[in-house]
C-alpha cells in the first residue's frame, strides 16, 4: 500500500520540477547559475594566484619560496570546509575592522563575494602546483633564447612561457575547474543559495528527496561533461602544431 503511494508520489513529483512556481525548476536553475558564477570567479582568481605563485616558487627568493610552500602545504592539508569557515570569518572580520578604522560603517559581505574569495584562495594553492609543473615543461632553450635577445621578464612570460606551458597545464587546469564546480556545493553548508542548497530546500519542503537530488545531480553531470568536452577542444587547440606521441 505504502509502496503504491510511494510510486504515485514519484510519478507526480516530476511536476515539481516545472519552471513556474508550483514547480521548483526556477529555483534549481537560479542555484545552478550561482554555482557557475562562483566556480568561474574562484577558478579565475585561483589561476591568477597560481600564475603568481608558480613564478614565485620558481624564480622567487628563498623567503618567497618558503612562504609559498607553507601556503600550498597548509591549504592542501586542511579540509575545504574548515578553510571556508576560517577564511569567511577572517575576511569579513578584517574588512570590517579596516572600515571602522577608517571611520566607515561595518558592511555585510555578500555570500557570492566571500565564496569566490575563499574558493579562489583554495584553488590558488592547487593551481600553483599545476602551473609550476607546466612551466618546468617549457624547453629551457626557449626561455634562454628570449633572455639572450634582451626580452624583459614580463614580456617573456606573456610571449614565451605562458603560451608554451598552456598545453601542459590544460589537463591539470581542467581538473581544477571540475573541482571548483563541485566545491561550490560546500558553500551550502554556510547557507549560501547555490544549487545544492536550493535543492535541499526544495526537497525538504516537498519531501520529494529522490526527485530533486537526482535532478541536481543531472545538472552537475551535464555541467562537468560539457566542460570536459570544452577543455578537450581547448587542449587540442593548445597542442596544435605539436607532434603526436604516436608519430
Amino acid at each position: 500500500m505504502s509502496a503504491l503511494a510511494g510510486a504515485a508520489l514519484a510519478a507526480s513529483s516530476l511536476d515539481l520540477l516545472q519552471y513556474s512556481p508550483p514547480g521548483w525548476g526556477a529555483n534549481l536553475l537560479r542555484g545552478l547559475m550561482n554555482s557557475i558564477i562562483i566556480a568561474f570567479g574562484a577558478f579565475g582568481l585561483g589561476s591568477l594566484i597560481g600564475v603568481a605563485g608558480a613564478f614565485g616558487k620558481l624564480y622567487g627568493g628563498p623567503v618567497t619560496r618558503d612562504l609559498l610552500a607553507i601556503y600550498t602545504t597548509v591549504v592542501r592539508a586542511v579540509p575545504e570546509l574548515v578553510l571556508i569557515l576560517i577564511l569567511y570569518y577572517a575576511v569579513t572580520d578584517s574588512v570590517n575592522r579596516l572600515l571602522i578604522g577608517f571611520g566607515f560603517d561595518r558592511i555585510q559581505i555578500s555570500g557570492l563575494a566571500a565564496g569566490i574569495a575563499v574558493l579562489g584562495v583554495v584553488q590558488g594553492a592547487y593551481a600553483t602546483e599545476v602551473l609550476r609543473g607546466a612551466i618546468l615543461s617549457v624547453p629551457a632553450g626557449q626561455i634562454e633564447a628570449a633572455r639572450a635577445m634582451g626580452m624583459p621578464p614580463a614580456l617573456l612570460a606573456r610571449r614565451i612561457t605562458l603560451p608554451l606551458m598552456l598545453s601542459a597545464a590544460l589537463p591539470g587546469l581542467a581538473n581544477l575547474w571540475l573541482i571548483a564546480t563541485k566545491d561550490t556545493a560546500l558553500l551550502a553548508v554556510v547557507g549560501f543559495g547555490e544549487l545544492t542548497q536550493e535543492t535541499r530546500q526544495a526537497a525538504g519542503t516537498t519531501k520529494a528527496y529522490f526527485t530533486f537530488f537526482m535532478a541536481a545531480g543531472a545538472l552537475y553531470l551535464v555541467l562537468s561533461i560539457g566542460s570536459g568536452w570544452i577543455f578537450a577542444r581547448l587542449e587540442r587547440w593548445a597542442r596544435r602544431g605539436q607532434r603526436g606521441v604516436r608519430g
Binding site: L81, Y89, G217
Partner: protein
Amino acid sequence: MNRAFWQPHRLVMAAVALALVAWCALTLRWDWLPDYLGLAPLGLWRTIWILLASVTLGMALAIPLGLAQAAGPWWLAWPARAFCTVIRGTPLLLQLWLLYYGLGSLFPQIPWIRHSELWPILRQAWPYALLALTLSFAGYEGEVMRGAFRGVAHGQLEAARAMGMPRLTLLRRIWLPQAVQRALPTLGGETVLQLKATPLVATITVVDIYAVASRVRQDTFITYEPLLLLAVVYMAITGLIVLLFRALERRIPSRAA
C-alpha cells in the same frame, strides 16, 4: 637536523612561527578545552574510523571497477565507466544528502525493512555516511586503477601466460601487485583528499571531530580558536598519512635508474 635545511632565513621564520604559536596560546581563549576533553577523542576516533573503513571498502570496490574498465568485456566496462563518471561528476555533498535524506525517507515506508534486524543500524546516520564516502572513493580510485592496470608492462602478463599461470593467480601474483605499486603515490594523495572529505558527514549528524568543533562554536560563541585547533588536527592526520604512504612506497623494491 641537517645544515642545508637550517639556513638563516629559515631560523628567522621558525622564530616568527614560534612567536605566533606562543601568542595564540597566551592571548586567545582556551578555557573551553577541558569541557570537551571527553567528546574530542570520540570525534577524532570517528573521523579516523570512517576514513579507514571507507578507504578499505572503496579500494576493494575500485579494483574490480578498474579491472572491468581496463580489460573487461563491454557489458562490464560500460557500467563501470558510467559509475565512475557519475560519481566524479557530482559533488560528494549531493551524493551524501541523496543517500541520507532519500534512502532515509524511503526505508521507513517499507515494512519488512522496519521490522528487520538491521533497522536499529539503518536508523542511524553513519551507515549512509560510510556508504557515500565508500562509493565516492571507489569512483575516483576506479579511474586510477584503470590507468594502473593498463600501465603494467605487457611482457610481464605474456610471460605469466606463457608459463601456463591460471588467470586468477596471474591477477594475484603479477597484475595486481604491479598495478598497486604504480598507483601508490596517487593513492596517497587520494587518501588525503578522502580525509578532507570526511567533515561533510557532520552535515548528516555524524559526530566526527569537525562536528565537535562546530558544537564548541555553538556552545561558547568562540569563532576562531576551535577552527584553528581543528585545522592543526587535520594537518597532523595528513602528515601521518603522508608518512605512512612514504614508508609503504619505500618497502617496495624499485630499481634505481
